[in-house]
Every structure is written in structure tokens, then in C-alpha cells.
Symmetry: C2
Subunit: 396 residues, 2 copies
């Protein structure tokens, strides 16, 4: 009879350390957790026999002792991560180390009926699950903008998707595919991606400012994802940047999202086109102001269109102010700028930096690195695949 | 030979649980930490023989088994907590359950030389330490506004105390008194007070908005005090509530402190007196506008002085906005309104409530209770005495 599979905290800690460090020795594990060497060896042996941990070679210490180099065996299992946004469904199949094995995506025009969006999500999930790569997916994670109920697997409300309310994501996917499904907020999924694969590796207290069609924030405190009392943390898009600002969909006024979200940038650009304030944007959209996107504005700003530059400067400036406010409260080591708008170009990003510098106390600023995500559009989906893999790490 | 004293985590967990619940049985301890009953009994017996835990009676369970009721023995040791603010030095001698045994305080006029402030602090500490009550103090805690270096025991900078920079609090006190000294931020000390003695008992994720001469925030995440990367968390006073607002001492513009701090309220009141906008405030200060305090404004507002009411409404409205912003990011279960300004009366507090309601998303608001502290002016000092007692709890 083989030894029972290792489950629970020791297992998770060893695997997390191995994933974080890339490679690790038995001695380093023992040191990191003040664990008895024998107990570490028993646990490691079980994880090796299960195949989730692998020996990646041997290192000779100065004293001549040979030490195995241990690493998470990425190919042990694969999971699917799906980012269901207001403008896209992006799915990835990733192995345990977060390497993407396959990818599928679909662009959503704002206003598409909820049933059609869910159909697209199911189609993409089914395609990725049926891929033989990685030995077949063992779990699915779906992230959505707005409030979620991770325990029930429900997306409660997404203001930026019309008609989206109490959508039972888990039920919608489990029915057809029979795999366990995790549901989480998209900005939190992005933060998990940054923590393990991106610019926040090894950081304990950091924030991810997720600038897309809407705006959210992922928060890590003490090395763990922070969700808040009702799983609603991170609504920086609805912090007030100007009490005399525009009314917001949330019922408030002057929220960050009214100025700096992709939705707000597109709305202002459409108005500008109608008012004849940007010939270039008019040309880019062939006179159909209603279809202009924040991406178009980024392109126009890159071509030095004054109106587009002005829009993005105002957006970046507001985002920098909100970032400074969050940092003043939480004193993080890093803020990662992520989400689709990060590709809007330097005008936008420079305005964020300048505004954050202006609004942050010097003592607070000196503790903080502001960095730009390099995970691109797939960041949330990749983070979500990692969240889905947590059950494989915990052995449950 | 007696058994060695219990030290470390198990000890702290048992004592913390006992302090939190007021009283606890061995079975409840075992259940709370999934700990072996025998291990619990060994640990509890040691704490009983040390005298830090006491048997407070016996309860009979339904099955007829007799169970000891255990509680922290408050009188086992005492500590001193000192709150060194811009307008006061408040010291308390408290027992291990946080009960105040003695108290001393001194009012500071803004602008007093640093050396004199430190003298007052030493005088108060010496007096409380020499009190025989509680068997004599075993540790001292000092909290100050602004950035601290808890490891070095230094108060780095307090913008609201002129000339205050890199003040070595621990050295200043250890010299004369020979007791261990902890240094912490005053709003964090208040949060610890609220957690164990006040309105946040048993809460895991909560905020304390500390409204005084300056404005700070104490943050608990997952049941623990959160300090931030460089021990600078909680600077809500320097979050921007109006980008077109007044310049702030921190170098920014439109910070909460420029409108809602005791300092800002007093400054605006002095201007109002000089401009003849409030006869009542003029009378209360006998024509010497320079000595008016936020407390005077509270008194005047209580007597329906329109100018004073307007000032406090604007201050409360700004504080409510900043509170809403912090809550949108952190989704706490409770925000406690504390600090000296809480006694400014209903006009101020109602404005905070109204503003928070207006600016918070409904879904976020429904998770949140906003409550007023009942610890009064001594909240930070009492919390600081508890922080000083941590070394007795940890057995180090």
C-alpha cells in the first residue's frame, strides 16, 4: 500500500515556496518554515511520489554534500482560467507553473445580451477543456468584473455589463463540463497573476490597479489575497476623485470610473467626435462616433492628437490621484498598473506617474515602486488559472 | 524544579482568546485552535501556575461535567500607555485586561518646544510607573501622531508638532525608567483599544478613523493590526478629498487634513472670528482669535452658531468622503469614529454619516457598520497600554 497523499497546510506551504522560488532544496524548506528536517523529508517524498513535485537536478554545496533541487512539476496538471470582461472573454489553459498551453478569446461589443456572453464563455471553456495538452484540465476558474460570491460561484452585479445580475457562473459551467469551478473578481485574479508570474513576485503588501473598461484593485496583505468582509474589496473605481465631478452608474458622483475607465474615455471621445474636436478620431472611426474605443483614443494620442492626449492626461491624472489615496492608506511596497488601458501609451501612463508623485507624501512615495504590468491582456485569465489550481496545491 | 514557562504562539493564542471572550473553557480553546486536548491542558496549567491565567469559577455542562471557567488574570501585571499628541500628553496605568488603574494628563498648547513636550512625557511616565497599584508597571508604550519606526522606538516626523523629527522616544524613556518601551502610531493604538475594549471587539477587518488635531486611520486585517511596508499605513489625513482644495503641510493639495482636522477647524475659526463671521466664537475666545480650538467650534455649533455649524458640516462631509473611499477599497465590517473631534457634537457626526452614505456604493454600505467610539480621549493611551502588554502575553 502506498503512503496516503499529503494534504493541507504543510503541502500548500511547500508547493507555494517551490513555486515562488522557482526551485528549492529540502534544507531551504526546513529553514523557511522552522520545520523539522525529517518531517520535511517525509512530506517532500510524498509530493515527489505523487508527481506534483519533481527533482530538477542536483546542486553540490560547498561542503561537498549533494542537494536535490526541487521544483513544482508544471506538467503534473493543467487548469483553465477565464476572464469574462465587459469587452472580451479570454480563456487560457495553463500548467501548474502558470505557463500558457492554449488560449482562446472572443471580443464582446458592449451591450451584448447576457445569454450570448455566457454562451461564448461556455464555448471557450469547452474548447480549452477538450485540448489534450497538459493531460486535460482538472479545474476551471472564471473571473468577472464587479461583486462576486466566491462560495456560491455567483457573479452578483457587473455595472459595466448591462443586465448582468446574480449570474450563476458555477452552475452554468459545471452542468456541461463536470469540473470544479472557482469564481473571483477580475482585479483580484490579476493580482494573483502578478504575485506569481508578474511584477509582484515575492511581495507581501502590494496593490494592482486594474485599468480597463471598468477600474478595480487587487490587494495583497501579508502575502495573501485580501477579499474584504463581503468579498467586495478593491472598488477603487468608485472612490471619489472629484466631489464636483460627473454622476456615476453606482449612484455616486465624481468616481474614478467617470473619468478614467475605458468606458468613460470612449464616451468622452464619442462626444468629442460629434463636437468636431478631433478630426483624427473622426477618421479612425469613419464618422461613426458610437463605435470609438479607448484603444482608438490611445492610437490617436500616439499620433499627437491634442484632444486624445487631453482625454488621456485627465484620465491618468485621476487614476494617479486615486492610486495615491489608496497608497496613503495602505503603504504598499508596489503598485502594479495593469489592465487593457496600460497599452494606451505613454501619455496616459506618464500622467498617472506624475499625479501619484504630486499627491503622495514624500515619506510614503519613497517606500513605493510603481511598475507597469507585462502580463498584457491575459493577466486576469492567467491569474484565474492559478486560483483554479489552488485545489490541486491543497490536495483537496 | 517547576516546569519551564510557556512562551510563544500557543501561549499568545490562548491568552488572546481568553481576553477576547472574557472567559473560556479548556474545551473551547481546544476547539478554537483544533488543538489536542492534552496539549491544551499542559499549556493552560502552566499559565495558571504562572498566574497570568486564573480560574474564575466552574460551569456545569448539560452532561453534568464540571468545566473550569478560565480568564486572563488582569491583576497579574500592569503596563503604562502614553498618548503623546499635538495638544496633549495622556498617560494611563492599566492592568492586563485593560482596566485603568491610574491616569495623568497634560494639555499642550500647539507650538511648545519639543524638549518641554518630552519632559512632560517623562514626568507622566515616571508618576505612573511609581504608582504601586497593579504591582508596578512592567512595560511602557508610547504612541505619537505621524510616522514611527517601531523597531528603533523612534518617532520619525509629526507634521502637527513643530520641530518634531527623529525623536528617540525609547531612549528618552528607557534612560530614566529602565522598562521596555514600545512606540507606535496613535491611530493604530486607538484601533487596538477599539479591538479589545471598544466597538470593534471580535471584528477581523475594520478601520478606525481617528479625528483629532490631525487625522489618521488604524487598520485591522484578518484580526491583526496592519502597519504597511514602512510602518506608514493609515495616512487617510493625506488622502485627497478635493483636488482644487487648499495646500497641505505635506506638500500636497486638498488633503482631508486641510478641511477636517482639529488644526484646520481651528484655523478656519480664527479667520472667521477676525472677519466677524461669528459673534459667539468671538465672545468664547474673548476676542483673541488665535486661541480658538475645534472644541470651541463644537460648543458654538451646539448653540446653533451658523458659522460654526457650517465649518463642522464641511469638515464632516470631507471626512465622510475619505471614509467612503477607504471603505470602497477595503470593504470593512466596521468603521469606528474616534479621536477628540468625535465630541464636537451631532452636526459634525451627522455630516460624516450623510456623506459616507452618499459616497458609498449601496452594496458596500450594507456590509458596513459606522459606529462612534466610546473610549473618549483616553482611547489611544489605553490601546497603547495593551500593545505594551504584548510582551507579557508572548512571555518574552
Amino acid at each position: 500500500m502506498s503512503a496516503p497523499r499529503l494534504a493541507g497546510t504543510v503541502r500548500e506551504r511547500i508547493l507555494s515556496l517551490a513555486r515562488e522560488k522557482g526551485q528549492v532544496s529540502r534544507g531551504e524548506i526546513s529553514q523557511a518554515f522552522s520545520m523539522d528536517k525529517k518531517a520535511v523529508s517525509v512530506a517532500v517524498d510524498r509530493l515527489l511520489s505523487e508527481g506534483i513535485l519533481a527533482v530538477n537536478g542536483v546542486r553540490e554545496s560547498r561542503s561537498g554534500r549533494r542537494r536535490e533541487i526541487l521544483a513544482v512539476n508544471g506538467s503534473h496538471a493543467a487548469t483553465v482560467g477565464i476572464d469574462l470582461g465587459a469587452t472580451h472573454v479570454i480563456g487560457v489553459l495553463a500548467d501548474l507553473s502558470g505557463t500558457v498551453l492554449d488560449r482562446a478569446s472572443y471580443d464582446i461589443r458592449p451591450g451584448l445580451p447576457v445569454a450570448l456572453i455566457l454562451d461564448q464563455m461556455r464555448t471557450i471553456a469547452a474548447r480549452l477543456v477538450s485540448t489534450p495538452r497538459g493531460g486535460g484540465a482538472r479545474a476551471i476558474g472564471v473571473c468577472v468584473p464587479g461583486f462576486v460570491h466566491p462560495v456560491e460561484g455567483t457573479s452578483l452585479v457587473a455595472e459595466n455589463i448591462p443586465g448582468w445580475k446574480d449570474v450563476r457562473i458555477r452552475d452554468a459551467l459545471q452542468e456541461g463540463l463536470g469540473l470544479p469551478v472557482r469564481v473571483e473578481d477580475a482585479s483580484r485574479a490579476l493580482a494573483v497573476g502578478e504575485r506569481w508570474l508578474g511584477k509582484a513576485r515575492g511581495e507581501r503588501d502590494f496593490l494592482v490597479l486594474d485599468l480597463g473598461f471598468g477600474i478595480g484593485m487587487g490587494i495583497f496583505i501579508g502575502g495573501s489575497l485580501y477579499r474584504g468582509t463581503g468579498w467586495k474589496s478593491g472598488e477603487i473605481g468608485h472612490t471619489v476623485v472629484d466631489p464636483r465631478g460627473l454622476p456615476c452608474a453606482c449612484g455616486g458622483r465624481g468616481c474614478l470610473e467617470t473619468v478614467a475607465s475605458g468606458r468613460a474615455i470612449a464616451r468622452q471621445a464619442a462626444e468629442g467626435i460629434r463636437d468636431g474636436r478631433s478630426q483624427l478620431l473622426g477618421e479612425l472611426t469613419k464618422g461613426n462616433a458610437g463605435v470609438v474605443t479607448a484603444q482608438d483614443v490611445g492610437v490617436a494620442a500616439g499620433m499627437s492628437d491634442p484632444f486624445a492626449m487631453e482625454l488621456l492626461e485627465a484620465a491618468g491624472s485621476a487614476a494617479g490621484l486615486a492610486l495615491a489615496n489608496a497608497a496613503a492608506i495602505l503603504n504598499p511596497s508596489v503598485v502594479v498598473l495593469g489592465g487593457g488601458l496600460v497599452s494606451s501609451g505613454r501619455v496616459f501612463l506618464d500622467a498617472i506617474w506624475k499625479s501619484a508623485d504630486r499627491h503622495l507624501m514624500p515619506g510614503m512615495r519613497q517606500d513605493l515602486r510603481i511598475v507597469e504590468s507585462e502580463l498584457g491582456l491575459d493577466g486576469s485569465a492567467r491569474g484565474m488559472a492559478l486560483i483554479a489550481s489552488e485545489r490541486i496545491f491543497s490536495g483537496t
